[in-house]
Subunit: 154 residues, 2 copies
Amino acid sequence: MKPPADVAHTLNHFFDEHLPLTGFMGLRLASYDGHTLVLKAPLAPNINDKSTAFGGSLYNAAVMACWGFAYLKTQEAGIVCNQVVAEGHIKYLAPVKGDITAICKTPGSDALAQFFEAFHSRGKASITLQASIACGGSEAVTFEGRYAILRCTS
Amino acid sequence: MKPPADVAHTLNHFFDEHLPLTGFMGLRLASYDGHTLVLKAPLAPNINDKSTAFGGSLYNAAVMACWGFAYLKTQEAGIVCNQVVAEGHIKYLAPVKGDITAICKTPGSDALAQFFEAFHSRGKASITLQASIACGGSEAVTFEGRYAILRCTS
C-alpha cells in the first residue's frame, strides 16, 4: 500500500486532466493524511447574489471531497476501477461567507475493509461517505454521498 | 400576475449578473410556460473523465431548474424576497452522454398556494420541488430540493 503522500497529488492531476468545472472553481486538494481529505476553493468564481458561496459550488466541493477520498483509497489499495457517484444529499445550514473548505473524514477502517472486500469478491462495491463545510467555526453544510466502484472491463 | 413570457428572461439575467459558475457551465433557460421550466447546458464545459456529464454539473443544472422555477413563481406573484436552497438530494441513475437538459415541473397549484400563503402570513416559507435529467429517452438523474423564501428586511 502506498503512503498517502505519494498518491495525494494524483487528485489534483485528475481534476486538471478531466474536470473543467473544478478548474473554473479553483478546487484543489489542500491536505490528505489517509484519514481526512480537505479540498479548498476561493470564493470569487463560486460567488452568488448574496456575496456568499453558491449552493452548487458547495455541493461540488463536498461531492468531490468524498469522491477524492474514495479515489485515493482505491489508489492506495492498488485497485484499478471505474468510480462514480451514485447519490448525493446536501443540507445547507448557514451561508458560507468566504473561501470554501470541504472536509471528508474516513468512515473508519471497518467500512473501508468491507468496501474493498465486496469489490474483490463481486467486482463492484459502494460506500457512503460524509463531508462538511464550516463557516466561522460552525457547520454550514453537511453532505452524504454514495460512491460506487466497478471493475474495469477493458 | 405577470404572464410567464414577461418574467422568463429574468432568470438568464440573474445567472449572468450573479453566478459566474452557471456562466462557465453555459447554463441557460430553454423554456418556461408557467408549469414546466427547462434549463440546458452544453456538454463540453461540463464533461468528466468518462466523456459524460460531470455529476457536479448535473446537480447544478437540477438545483437551478428548481431554484429558477421558484424564482419565477415568486416574480409572477409580485413577491420581493430572499430565496435560498435549503436542501438537495440527487440520484444518478445513468450517465448523461450529451448536453444537459434539466426539467422542473410544477408541484401543483395547491402546493404553490400554500407556499405563498405561508410567506404572506409568516414572512417565510419553503417548498419542495423536483427536477429530472434524461438521456436517450430514459431518466438519468432525479433531484428533489427544498427552497426557502424570506421577507427582505432591508
